[in-house]
Amino acid sequence: MVPVVTVLASTLDTGSAQYASRRAAMLAKLSELDAEQAKALAGGGPKYVQRHRDRGKLTVRERVELLIDPDSPFLELSALAGHGTGFPVGGSGVNGIGVISGTECMISASDPTVRGGSTNPWSLRKSLRSMQIAIENRLPLVNLVESGGADLPTQKEIFIPGGQIFRDLTRMSAAGIPTIALVFGNSTAGGAYVPGMSDYVVMIDGRSKVFLAGPPLVKMATGEESDDESLGGASMHARQSGLADFLATDEHDALRIGRSIVARLNWRKPGPGPACTPAEPANDPEELLGIVPEDLKVPFDPREVIARIVDGSDLDEFKPLYGTSLVTGWAALHGYPIGILANARGVLFSEESQKAAQFIQLANQIGVPLLFLQNTTGYMVGASYEQAGIIKHGAMMINAVANSRVPHLTVVMGASYGAGNYGMCGRAYDPRFLFSWPSAKSAVMGPAQLAGVLSIVGRQAATARGEPYDEEADAAMRAMVEEQIEAESQAFFLSGRLYDDGVIDPRDTRSALGMCLSAIDGAPGPTGRPDGAGAGPAAGPGLAGASRYGIFRM
């Protein structure tokens, strides 16, 4: 790439009271994030962790840390899965992208200290999401298996959709994405099909237990007397059934074998690789803490964020004078060229929508991934805007986002309300990765607006019926609705429901996105095509963009 230098000039006053209070507010949110993550880190709690250790076993995070290359980065995904659902935070497992023997892999590891590592509806969603990421980005999948199977009381949420796990395992294999199972303990009943459907299976002598039915069930079914070892012991599977390809002597040995399997995958990423040498931002990423206002109603300049996450703080703005409520431009992140769309003043007007649609088409023309930095209250409402065609212009933007084929990354920095969530590539628009900052909120509209709308509707209904409106009840309703919507808009809540891939510290944004861009480089083809094929002629080798969109209503 020919170097073009268009460095952003930051005007952030780090000595100001505003900066200090915004930073304090963000740090408070980050300590909440720490507290939530601590729940996931604690696994099943001290008692079960100790019992697990007493059995001579490594914890799930120790396993993951030993599996990946020393000192390599690890991008953990869906760490808050299950938050706010009544199930333990973390989805009873650790999933993420890590480097094993120099190869980026999707690691999916069950935590046996959390209710025996059993799968609850949120762990299932977490597993399926990590497999989707593995498929879309062609990441070899390494499962660290030790699970008691489905959480039986919620089996109705798990059993039928859970079949996708096995379907995707074999489809990955068919698509040429290797799947590896390291079986640390129980993997029985349905769980037995995880090793069963994997390309490589490692079992641990005296530890792994893989069978369709245990001794009691076999006794009930056929009257046969049996024991764990003869039904599903590692030695039996390595020597007799052939389900195990490698017999490890202990957990460390299993991890060692897993690393050696990956080392032999001869894995090469087809992507174009970084186009230029990565350069640190000129502005200190630490200052990202003092940018987002305490109140999301107050807009902020996303250029201050971009200046702290992209290479050399270099953003080449496109259409800087048109549709100024949306910043568009070209940059590089860890050496990968990207196009950025960032909300500047929250509201999207017709101009911003048309600018976005054009910019998305340009990125597709040249095959450059897009980064959406969300802080939007939605598309502008009001008679003059409706008359000027805000719907058709908004639809144009959503059309472009939906049909764009270059990889998308989304970060919810602040607000993500209304159709702005769609136009700025929210979850439903299948960005390859989506992260939230801790104070971000997503909802159909702001809590106060939503409560106000309900109040107005109720008042109109009462008036129509000719009844007096109960102001007291209205105030209580508004407070309750506001509180509920507020809670359900929070990043932690939505992350618990797998509506993002994780809540991240703003200071980690650059590293997280760098990990994502490197992963994307494994499958730069059109999103949704795991084989990476179909690169358009305009795209050259590697990334391919869309050449077809829905009809743009002009």
């Binding site: 390599s72 980065p73 953990e76 760490a79 200071r507």
Partner: protein, 675 residues
């Protein structure tokens, strides 16, 4: 006039001679064995001739091949160095017969002094005091020393403290002498405990001028091999010096000596001295003499060989010089020789190599202390276990003895050595030893040495391991093939520190550290779970890279140099040098070594087998003998039982860790008969 000279030797002495040749404008020829094909001495010479083979007998002891090499390379002179053929009159005659100049004494003089038994007679005849020679059959007073008549360098020498040990010592000395020198003759003499080893350098020209230069004190020895040498001796006053030098000169004259030689004496604590032997060659420790007299002994050897005359008197001595021999050996493991590649060797503040630094020398010359390095190896050299284990000599000169010792100790302590284990820490320790400092070191100094005390301190090990871990982390990031620009160890959910473990001199060391937004923080190794913030005593990382790390410990910054070769790590700093082994995080399961295995402790060849398959052996009983570095190592049965398997034969070359034999527990005999 010599125009082209072959050095029939290797290592540092070959390079030492080449240096003087170059200074004189003489073309140099090296010979090299197969293991030495890449050795510095072979690369340095103007011409080099291969001596096929590896063993000394095939190569550096192969007189015929060496003379042929000299002729092939167009040499007109041969310098033998020390060791190998240096004292072999047959070789000297062969050189002379080929029409080449022999840079050494006349073969007749060599012959007269070659056998210790003969030499003592000649010395006695010249009026030089000698120790009585004892008949091995009728020794009654112990201790005695068994010596090989043809010996040197401590080989074929055994101290015997009780009658019961004598026969085995004689037998073993005979075998070693036969193997090393081709002559198994041994004799006994009273062992003077507490005596000092003092020697006098002589130099004689063909016209009859004989120099006897200031005595050298070589009392610091291990297993009768010199470790530290100095001149002048702190134990010799002017009167004794005069007597020693006169005796040495008298003996040289008596045998018609020409060229450089050394007369060795034992000086008892009562001031009496006894002739030990006459070494008809240049000594390893000749540099200390060069340093105090301001002369080049090799240049003088060449001049004498060319028939030039020495001045009537040598330049007067000034100041004090001390030499330390850096060996590839592990003192804590019974001086077991070590080998393998030298990854780094750097002596700080070296002023000159193989000679004196330029500047005023000798009496009246007011020069600053200097450090001289005579090294046979360089980074990249593979130290072969086929030959002597000496890597280098480090020599310090200063106006006074304590200044010279300080300079030498500092130079050695600051030396970065990565590769074979060395005796460096022992050398530094001796130089700091009060007994040495007071000039009271005798040949028994190292006999009772506490080698465990040489281990680096626990805190030095721990802090050095922290530096090594951080350097390894930097190396891991530098060699990353993917996501290399993402910060090292980055986590969006932080769960635990990185853990790097080492095997250190005092046991396993676990280093835990966190990658932070600004660098690396060492976590408290003892805390469980690890503390998020390090306590004040933990080192903080000021800077780190694969080869060097700066740590701050209690407000003081230390610079660490780190050399890495596979899992081996050498950490050098002002806290000392610490050798670590990076432990594999996920070690492959141990191959099951059968219990009762006899494992080779080092590479070597099997020279003797004392038991056969099926034999009953007792715990501790020697089963076979391994020769490595010209030393015999007994491999003993680990337990009593039956020698079930013998996997090697005589002459087999084995590697460290090879299983040589297996002893199994004896089958309980069914008759149950007790004896």
């Amino acid at each position: 006039m010599i125009s082209c000279l072959l050095v029939a030797n290797r290592g540092e002495i070959a390079r030492r001679v080449f240096r003087s040749c170059r200074a004189a404008g003489i073309t140099t020829v090296a010979v090299f064995s197969d293991p030495d094909a890449g050795a510095p001495h072979a690369a340095e010479a103007g011409r080099a001739v291969r001596l096929p083979g590896a063993s000394s007998a095939e190569t550096y002891l192969n007189a015929e091949a060496i003379v042929a090499a000299a002729l092939a390379a167009g040499a007109d002179a041969v310098h033998p160095g020390y060791g190998f053929l240096a004292e072999d009159p047959g070789f000297a005659r062969r050189v002379l017969a080929a029409g080449l100049v022999w840079v050494g004494p006349p073969p007749e003089a060599m012959e007269a002094m070659a056998l210790k038994i003969e030499a003592r007679k000649r010395a006695a005849a010249a009026g030089v005091p000698v120790l009585p020679e004892l008949d091995p059959g009728s020794v009654t007073r112990f201790p005695v020393l068994v010596k090989a008549s043809a010996g040197g360098g401590g080989r074929g020498m055994r101290a015997v403290f009780a009658a019961g040990e004598l026969d085995e010592a004689i037998e073993s000395a005979r075998r070693e002498a036969q193997g090393a020198f081709g002559d198994g003759t041994v004799f006994c003499e009273p062992l003077l405990t507490g005596a000092r080893h003092i020697e006098v350098q002589v130099l004689a020209d063909q016209a009859g001028t004989v120099w006897a230069l200031t005595e050298r004190d070589c009392s610091v020895q291990r297993r009768y091999a010199k470790v530290i040498e100095e001149t002048p001796s702190p134990a010799v006053g002017p009167e004794l010096r005069e007597r020693l030098l006169s005796a040495a000169a008298a003996l040289a004259r008596a045998v018609g000596y020409v060229n450089a030689g050394t007369v060795e004496f034992l000086v008892a604590d009562d001031g009496e001295f006894y002739f030990l032997e006459f070494n008809t060659r240049l000594q390893v420790e000749h540099p200390v003499t060069e340093c105090v007299h301001g002369i080049d002994l090799v240049a003088l050897q060449l001049a004498i060989a060319e028939g030039r005359a020495l001045p009537a008197h040598p330049p007067a001595a000034t100041g004090h010089a001390i030499e330390a021999r850096l060996y590839a050996e592990d003192p804590a493991e019974g001086f077991r020789p070590s080998g393998g590649p030298v990854h780094a060797l750097a002596v700080p503040g070296v002023d000159s190599a193989f000679g004196l630094p330029p500047g005023p020398v000798g009496q009246g010359g007011s020069r600053a202390p200097f450090l001289r390095l005579d090294s046979g190896v360089e980074p990249g050299t593979d130290v072969s276990t086929h030959y002597d284990a000496m890597l280098a000599k480090v020599i310090a000169w200063a106006p006074s003895r304590d200044e010279a010792a300080r300079r030498l100790a500092a130079g050695l302590a600051g030396t970065r050595i990565a590769g074979p284990a060395t005796n460096r820490d022992l050398l530094v320790s001796v130089l700091h030893d009060p007994v040495f400092a007071e000039g009271r070191a005798d040949t028994a100094l190292l006999g009772g040495y506490d080698f465990a005390a040489l281990l680096p301190a626990e805190s030095a090990c721990r802090i050095s391991a922290a530096a090594a871990a951080v350097a390894a982390a930097a190396e891991n990031r530098r060699s990353a093939r993917v996501v290399a620009s993402i910060p090292g160890g980055w986590r969006n959910v932080v769960s635990q520190p990185q853990l790097t473990s080492f095997a250190g001199p005092r046991g396993r060391i676990d280093v835990r550290y966190h990658w932070t937004r600004t660098g690396i923080t060492i976590a408290d190794a003892a805390a469980e779970p690890p503390l998020p913030e390090p306590p004040a005593a933990e080192p903080t990382v000021a800077a780190f890279a694969p080869g060097h790390v700066t740590l701050e410990v209690a407000g003081v910054r230390y610079w660490f140099g780190i050399t890495r070769a596979g899992a081996a790590v050498w950490v050098d700093s002002a806290l000392g040098s610490v050798r670590l082994t990076l432990l594999d995080r996920l070690p492959a399961p141990e191959p099951v070594t059968e219990s009762g295995s006899l494992v080779a402790p080092m590479p070597g060849s099997v020279t003797r087998i004392a038991a056969g398959p099926g034999d009953k052996v007792l715990a501790g009983q020697p089963v076979l003998v391994l020769e490595a570095m010209k030393m015999e190592h007994q491999i003993v049965a680990p337990a009593s039982g039956i020698l079930a398997e013998l996997r090697v034969g005589i002459g087999a070359q084995v590697n460290a860790g090879d299983v040589l034999a297996i002893v199994t527990a004896a089958e309980p005999e069914e008759t149950g008969e007790r004896q």
